[in-house]
């Protein structure tokens, strides 16, 4: 077993889910309509729950307890891509991010169902139901608003133009990429990106939205090695505000 390679892989997935879960939870109570408020809150809980499962696996590989890992690290110790830490912005951005990230996430977990690392293959099967809904939700909204009115289309297009370079950062290659693939832990970021491009194109083709040309875009990288925007630390401060007041409280 190559524990360092495995940990790197699991940390970035867990951090993506925790941070996006927290961001999505910021819509609780202020969603654009009641069902969306509920949907985003519910998916946020799913993501945090999935992150917890992954931190648990990391714990079994010798890392600290899930709560310690989740609540006591600072921004440079997080491995999430920058896409997930960006502020929720307006609903158009949150929706486009949800679509871009969750499409990649679903494909990643599909690939992980055949991971040679059994605990990952197991949670991959466990998460299938939740993830399938997240993707259905994202796709339905993008298809609807991506061809509804002039305003909805132009809003989504602007959000897509802004989010796309960050989304390409999801697939930032790992220093352990070769081992991860050779050991059969995961099929690799490059393969995932190919599948993802195909999938989002097929959804966007049903709308009036245009995917920015990948060839002329510089992906926003760095998140996987702890380089983050100025938005992550304030998020962590807010997320850990209560824990920080009483670190040893029992819940």
């Amino acid at each position: 077993m190559k524990p360092e390679a495995l940990k790197e892989l699991i940390y970035k997935m867990a951090d993506d889910l925790l941070i996006l879960g927290h961001r999505n939870s910021e819509w609780t109570g202020i969603g654009p309509l009641l069902e969306e408020d509920i949907a985003f809150s519910s998916m946020a809980q799913d993501k945090v729950g999935q992150a917890q499962n992954l931190y648990q696996i990391l714990h079994s590989l010798g890392e600290s307890e899930p709560d310690i890992v989740a609540f006591t690290r600072n921004a440079p110790q997080f491995h999430n891509c920058q896409l997930v830490e960006l502020p929720i912005g307006e609903y158009d951005f949150s929706l486009v991010r949800h679509f871009l990230f969750d499409t990649a996430d679903a494909l990643r977990w599909e690939m992980l169902t055949i991971s040679s690392y059994e605990p990952l293959a197991q949670v991959a099967k466990k998460f299938q139901g939740e993830i399938r809904y997240h993707v259905l939700h994202a796709k339905t909204w993008i298809t609807q608003l991506g061809s509804a009115t002039e305003e909805s289309i132009s809003r989504l297009q602007l959000a897509l133009n802004y989010a796309f370079p960050f989304a390409l950062g999801i697939f930032e290659s790992s220093p352990y990429e070769k081992e991860i693939i050779a050991e059969g832990y995961f099929g690799g970021e490059e393969l995932l990106k190919e599948k993802w491009m195909e999938k989002i194109k097929s959804v966007l083709n049903e709308t009036q939205l245009i995917l920015p040309d990948e060839k002329i875009i510089t992906p926003v990288l760095g998140g996987r090695v702890g380089i983050h925007t100025e938005h992550l630390q304030p998020l962590l401060d807010e997320m850990t505000e209560v824990v920080a007041l009483e670190p040893h409280a029992e819940w």
Binding site: N53, G129, T140, W141, T143, Q144
Partner: protein, 213 residues
């Protein structure tokens, strides 16, 4: 413009919402509402589908999504379907202890044409929901109702009957069935899993001035 509204919730501050002073008298704006769909839910494999209520949505895909949020969140669910409200054909309501089928005039309408499938729903009594009883194949709704009476008319009481053309229903695909298969270990979703009363009581005992709260 005035300063943005200040709140103890940092998310509200980030929205930069400004207070708007309303004018004294303005015309009431018309309601901008989506059309309605009716949602039907199956609690367990093999159980009858039951009507659970309406949702407002711009199309059936969105209706399906909203119905999933609204009606399948707090109960077990293995299947869901939605249909536009105005696609449902309904009989009048009958008395509580009888069958509405017996009170309807027999229609000997002769209809030719291709038969289609109609789903039949009964309401057993007022105040509960319609449940699925089966389907019939007929060239028109009226013929479908006649066939429904022959096939399902023995049930008592039946206060009201719904007939729905199957072609208008947005069902759950076999692939989508997995969306209700979610992680079980999420007790933190339920308020009941936070057992704090004994700790609150203990704290109050140490702080006599709080006893009255």
């Amino acid at each position: 413009m005035s300063n943005p509204l200040q709140s103890l919730d940092p998310r509200i501050n980030r929205l930069g919402v400004h207070e708007v002073t309303p004018e004294t008298l303005v015309p009431k704006t018309g309601l901008d509402q989506f059309e309605t769909y009716e949602a039907f839910l199956q609690k367990r494999e093999g159980a009858k589908y039951e009507h659970v209520g309406p949702v407002h949505a711009p199309n059936e895909e969105m209706a399906f999504l909203f119905a999933k949020e609204q009606y399948s969140r707090r109960m077990t669910c293995v299947g869901l379907f939605v249909v536009k409200t105005d696609q449902i054909l309904t009989t009048p309501f009958g008395p509580n202890d009888n069958s509405i089928y017996d009170l309807l005039p027999t229609d000997n309408e002769v209809v030719s044409g291709d038969p289609q499938v109609w789903e039949v729903f009964h309401l057993k009594k007022r105040g509960i929901q319609h449940h699925h009883v089966g389907s019939v194949s007929a060239p028109s709704a009226i013929v479908a109702l006649t066939l429904a009476k022959e096939t399902f008319g023995a049930e008592r009481p039946v206060v009201n009957v719904w007939i729905i053309p199957e072609s208008q229903i947005r069902f759950t695909s076999s692939e989508e069935k997995a969306i209700w298969d979610t992680l079980k270990d999420k007790k933190y979703r339920d308020a009941i899993s936070y057992k704090v009363q004994d700790r609150i009581d203990r704290y109050k005992q140490g702080h006599p001035n709080l006893q009255s709260i």
